[in-house]
Symmetry: C2
Subunit: 473 residues, 2 copies
């Protein structure tokens, strides 16, 4: 495994050079985080369909467990059980509108991952940076458990566990555990753990900070130890269910699904789950005894257990919904953890927006009224008061307000509009709005994928490294 | 599947152009032989080890079920459950001796398959053509069920089911079902079914012809129908056992094997099988209640059932051994079918050579003495008289002799020497002679392979075709 060790050193050195001004050393965080022998154990895989233009290039990398669907070029990287995907890449001939510019896309966009170390990281893609339309890059980046690099060219950065960088181009930043950043272009920032920050320059700025003493019950990460907390335990407890899914070549779905819905063969579906029209269940999603209404989706790393989603529900990457009832059009953001109990369920009224990285963990019944925005840590009705606002009320805010640990500046109406537009895009992209003819999305296009598995050299100096693999149409 | 159909037409047209002087039309033989939808059903796969230099290129082909281990370039071909392998390719720097010439190999040898249709064909490789040391080609060739293209550049030819072309460069030939040809360079020949022909120009010529009325019980193939007969039924009856093997990603061996032996994860091992030192069990071999003595091997498509092999036994590709006891160093050639019965076993004395394509099918006990050469169809002790000779006696023959349907010309001693040298090479290449330090072979080098699966486009015009795949170190 000589080459693999050298590769690891190369990556961490490059990231540290980028982060030198922040005086951040990634080494103690990632050293021994995944034993090298684990990196040889899992196959990576890529999908082939007529809907996703093929172009994969893997060089001098370890890809254990990763999943590629759209164009991707990976060089000198270690990707451990990362989900990469790439099925929303821009195509040559597309036009991107941005602040009055109409920018033509000059060649098919591709994901480029170079000198990066991504551990159980989800990349996906729907990039928004008008400067790099053809290039979705993640260079010199270290990212840890269940972080999301979402729609975001990223360079020289470090992401803690369950961190999300969304619609943000980021250079030389440190993003703490469970932080969510959607902030346009940022550089040389050190974001503390548990920060939820949504900024649209000149429009609005939303900032929430988790009380760290309470967040650490759910997730904490210190140098020299693996990430810990309830979120990690929750995922680890359900790991075994995925084993059978990844051990078998061809799996027959255990539930009936309509022919306009899509259930990924790498998802886990436990009994008494119902899949309605236009539903998308992505790979590495986990569904148990749950009702997925029309156009609902369960994205990668989602867990939906003993719950009912009425329809057109987005369950964004890494969100967990347990013992809960969600009305139509309820949006649940990235990595949110929503937990009711069998004897005190959580209900969320229609059209409500659960902000990314929200934790709702109740021991008495909690009912969120329709049309509300909810954020941060909610463990009781009193918390809800401090961590929510009616959307109608928010649209009226023009200057700013604060509530609990949350500060909002700017225009509430544009905040709500931006969110609603985004939700609409997500539903559309995922095929929730398919009418049998128009609005095909992932739920319809990802039904029939050939999955090809790839593995590294099994022994010798190159053990753990993948050979050069080039796939083209 | 538009492109796949066009590809099929392209191949058959090219082969027919090659075979025009023989007035042979492959179309009625191969049309509908494998329904197109079958060609989408199976994954192909390739192995990665540090011992086999990587270079795979697959373009505009269907590869359903095939297995690649050594360098291989496949273009415009349909390979249905063909085993290709390629782990005895010559390397740059090797020297080949041939009739006094010492020919340096100028670049790594590669298998090139172009415009070919190989159905359940095994290719393997150990080429002997001094004219194409770097190029193991099989162009414009149609080959049907369980044929072996072995060590043989081949062009513009047709092979019937269970045909073998061995150490032979062949142009524009038709090889009938169950025929074995090892004849140096041949072209424009039409070889009738059931011909066993071994020729070394200026040294010897061995020719046996099966009585066709008796052969048809075992195998017959006519235009418009799939191949039929006992050999096909035998294989079909055991097909299901392979299903589990190919459906599971990682399989734990069901028997203990010594660390100098190799049991391919795509072999089927039924209970009460014993694997001794230096044994090689290749992929798609089937072992049941059998004893594999030291250095014995079971090559691809072999079936060894209720039998005991004492050691250093070669069971060449496609050979079947049932209810039999084989002494040390017994060699069983390609596609032979040796069947004793529970109440009347077949025994073969040590050092005997069972010629390729021999059928021994007894209903009373039969004992073949040590040191004998056996060929053709043997169903009784009387047949054995007409179809065998003591090797010692054969070495004394200098002019020729005939026995039953067999004609031999030339030097018996060089025939025996050539065979023994070949057997020694096979044992050596397969690792039977490994002493813990020297003579590593497949049994030791093929123990630890990363298997990567590849699949075709699942739908659309390209359905059934594989994308371009390039694998390099």
């Amino acid at each position: 495994m000589k080459s693999l060790k050298e590769l690891f050193d190369r990556i961490t050195q490059r990231v540290n050079i980028n982060l030198r001004e922040l005086k951040f050393d990634v080494n103690p965080f990632v050293k021994d985080l995944v034993p090298f022998h684990q990196l040889v154990k899992f196959y990576a895989f890529y999908g082939i369909t007529p809907h996703h233009p093929l172009d994969f290039q893997f060089r001098h990398s370890n890809l254990a467990g990763s999943y590629f669907l759209g164009k991707c070029c990976t060089t000198n990287s270690i990707l451990y059980k990362s989900d990469i995907r790439g099925d929303e890449l821009k195509k040559k001939g597309d036009t991107c509108e941005f602040q009055g510019f109409k920018i033509p896309v000059s060649r098919d966009e591709a994901i480029r991952i170079e000198d990066s170390f991504l551990i159980k990281t989800l990349v996906h893609n729907f990039s928004h940076d008008p400067e790099t339309l053809e290039n979705f890059f993640i260079r010199n980046t270290v990212s840890t458990h269940y972080a999301n690099i979402h729609g975001s060219p990223t360079d020289g950065s470090y992401l803690g566990p369950f961190a999300t960088v969304d619609l943000t181009t980021m250079n030389d930043c440190v993003i703490g555990a469970f932080s969510y950043v959607q902030a346009g272009e940022i550089s040389h920032l050190h974001i503390e753990p548990g920060t939820v920050w949504v900024r649209s320059p000149n429009n609005f700025n939303f900032l929430y900070r988790y009380p760290l003493n309470k967040l650490s019950h759910y997730i904490h990460f210190t140098a020299g130890a693996p990430p810990q907390g309830l979120l990690i335990d929750f995922v680890e407890d359900r790991k075994e269910a995925f084993q059978r899914v990844f051990e078998t070549m061809n799996i027959d779905p255990s539930v009936t699904i309509p022919n306009n819905a899509s259930l990924d063969r790498f998802a886990v579906i436990k009994p008494k789950t119902h899949i309605s029209d236009n539903v998308l269940v992505a790979q590495r999603a986990f569904l148990q005894n749950s009702w997925m209404g029309k156009g609902a989706n369960a994205q990668e790393n989602c867990y939906i257990i003993n719950s009912r989603l009425e329809g057109f529900n987005v369950t964004a990457h890494g969100a967990k919904i347990i013992e809960a009832d969600l009305g139509q059009n309820v949006f649940v953001g990235f990595n949110s953890f929503l937990r009711g109990r069998p004897d005190c369920r959580l209900s969320i009224g229609k059209e409500s927006i659960i902000m990314p990285h929200t934790i709702i963990d109740v021991k008495e019944p909690l009912s969120i009224p329709p049309g509300h925005l909810v954020w941060g840590l909610v463990t009781s009705p009193a918390d809800l008061e401090n961590n929510s606002i009616e959307l109608k009320e928010l649209t009226k805010i023009s200057e700013g307000f604060s509530r609990g640990n949350m500060f909002f500046e700017g225009n509430g109406s544009s905040f709500v509009t931006a969110f609603r537009d985004r939700i609409h895009h997500i539903l559309e992209a995922n095929g929730a709005l398919y009418d049998g003819v128009k609005n095909k999305g992932h739920a319809q296009k990802n039904q029939n994928i050939s999955f090809n598995t790839i593995q590294p050299y099994p022994e010798g100096d190159l053990k753990g490294l993948y050979p050069t693999i080039i796939i083209r149409p």
